[in-house]
Symmetry: C2
Subunit: 386 residues, 2 copies
């Protein structure tokens, strides 16, 4: 899955766009590059993460999105800034500018701190070149780390899918495929490679297990329709798009074997804060006896939080995301259309909380853990020590 | 609410468009008229139901939609056909043509049979004029009946809202309004006047009870965004649009006091078949202890059906409704845009089934009944006898 290929649709030049990476280091040119996700799925274009201003704009405009990916991009942005001016003052200014692009993003702060520690590690007497080189090396290490974490999530998710597939085939020898339902985009577009929720799917697909994915379109921003459907198509994984309203029906009619979602934040008691609508999927999965897993990097566990419904404030975004829809018009231009009457008031809650009681398990890079305070305690202990 | 007003946006002529009717008889001109719902909310235009071909096209193209409204329109279409040719052969041909516009619609068959019985009732020796007059009179009687049924549903729903409002104010003297959540469009655009699920809302609003409606946008066709938001706005009922993914969150955070939905078909055991996504709303209502009512005319109860999940086949519609969205572009034209990548496969299930165990009660024109075989038996007995 990791062989780079050239992409005819890439107008940014002859440089290769890998088939399953949203951000990669082009060793030949010595620059980090990222897909411009604000153009997907109607245009495939990569941008060079070559200077601070460009990286900051890319994060702010959500050209680069997904918690892990934002951190990685910021790390490369800081490295790029140090190549221009490696002074401690410039470093602090660049870090502050990057932090301000998405103030709430935990992964962003974490990645910037990691790069700054690495730069500090080369010693007070080091020259500009050594400081810049240390920053770039650390950004590349962060990227490699995220890829490894996602690959491990895929490895730990694979036996779950294998077990479900064996059970399905035992009940029905003619069952054509294992049906996975996912919500939003927790694939490789949100991370380094592989993704979180989709990592087990890609792993199973690579292993020859016939998997089919029901993709919730995920209104209002439509990440399922515009990103998940695109990346599954690129990986040739069979999939079918659903309006979000249809998840309950396909679960009720036995068309789904397992639900896999990501999580932006997971409490120490196993409550899962993820894209708005995840809670409804979990309710329907429970009502129909279908397992529901959150696939998360351990770094997204929040040991400070216990009750997700009480403790997690929910971001409200611009109502225009609900009232307006962007897509490709018949004349080949990308246009935005308004669906409700002018002046209609709309709410736009960005996330919801799925209580732990609805979550079958939390799949991490260290294995699968029960979604409960007792179940997650060993994992949190490991993160605290490690 | 029933005073006709002229509508400046009506380009079909000086004739009045009533503020709360999707189909009405213009006694001055002697013709039935209907809003062209395929243009809403971006254009308010009425069409004359003056000949068979035009009525058939209006039903087929969903200019007229909503189960009760289709029946009413078909009745006027048959009456219009008889005015041109009142022979039994022409009557049979016209009825068949109308029936073929939406083959599955129970209300369509019911309304056509009712008109044909009335025509037969004038006797074999009656002239063409008497036959045509009988058809028109029966079409008007069907319209009047549907309006009365919806008004009665509103009367029976009102005390439910009054009770909930009294309870809310007792808990919080500063509560600003009673929060109702609805899915799809079960307002006056789907019926004669008042609507079914929205009838109690309009009745409460008229009675001075401060009511606010959360409107699920209801993907894929967006009836909540384009129709319910429009008709609530026209009636000055405060409302807020939600992406369907957000219903669980607002229920979980205590922002909803009651859910009111319509039903296309209700089994004798109280299972509710309604617009896709209704089941998810019901699950979230139950998980948070919020009452969930289906408001239905008794005529939509199906005494033959028992288990909704097993017995009701679910219509699948064109995938394009999921992949494409229609709205008003910034240049003022109505355009259709595609959201996912070209060639993305999509499913489009039109309805789902909410099991009776999740339904607090069935509100009908005869009162509120428990959603169970025992609870509905008296109502079915009444319908059988009456």
């Amino acid at each position: 899955m990791s062989l780079p290929t050239t992409d005819a649709a890439d107008p940014s030049g002859p440089s290769a766009i890998p088939p399953n990476a949203a951000l990669w280091f082009d060793a030949g040119r010595g620059v980090a590059r990222a897909l411009d996700q604000s153009l997907l799925p109607h245009e495939t274009r990569a941008l060079d993460l070559v200077d601070l201003a460009r990286v900051a704009e890319a994060i702010r405009a959500m050209r680069v999105r997904g918690a892990p990916l934002i951190g990685i991009a910021a790390a490369f942005g800081l490295a790029a800034a140090l190549r221009v001016d490696a002074s401690p003052e410039a470093e602090a200014r660049a870090a502050a500018a990057l932090l301000a692009t998405r103030p709430g993003a935990v992964s962003l702060a974490w990645a910037l701190a990691r790069v700054r520690r690495a730069v500090a590690g080369v010693g007070p007497g080091a020259g500009a070149e050594a400081r810049a080189a240390a920053a770039l090396a650390e950004a590349r290490a962060i990227l490699a780390h995220e890829i490894a974490v996602c690959a491990a999530i895929g490895e730990h998710g694979l036996p779950i899918l294998e077990r479900l597939w064996a059970g399905k085939r035992a009940r029905d020898a003619k069952a054509p495929h294992l049906d996975v339902l996912t919500h939003c985009n927790a694939g490789w577009l949100a991370t380094g490679e592989w993704g979180t929720a989709l990592a087990p799917v890609y792993r199973a697909h690579a292993a020859g297990l016939p998997v089919h994915v029901w993709v919730d379109e995920t209104r209002p921003r439509g990440q399922g329709a515009s990103l998940t459907a695109w990346e599954l198509g690129r990986a040739s994984v069979p999939h079918t798009l659903l309006a979000d309203t249809m998840a309950g029906h396909v679960l009720q009619r036995g068309k789904v074997d397992v639900c896999l979602v990501g999580s932006d934040r997971t409490t120490r008691s196993g409550d899962v804060c993820n894209k708005i609508g995840t809670y409804l999927v979990a309710l329907a999965a429970r009502d129909n006896g279908v397992p529901f897993y959150a696939c998360v990097p351990t770094s997204s566990l929040d040991a400070e939080l216990s009750d997700g419904v009480l403790d997690i404030p929910i971001e409200e975004r611009d109502a225009r995301e609900v009232t307006h829809v962007r897509g490709l018009a018949e004349d080949g231009t990308v246009r935005t259309v308004r669906v409700p009457p002018a002046g209609t008031r709309a709410a736009n809650f960005a996330f919801d909380v799925t209580p732990a009681r609805l979550v079958t398990g939390i799949v991490t890079e260290h294995g699968m853990y029960p979604a409960s305070a007792e179940g997650l305690a060993p994992l949190l202990e490991r993160a605290r020590v490690g």
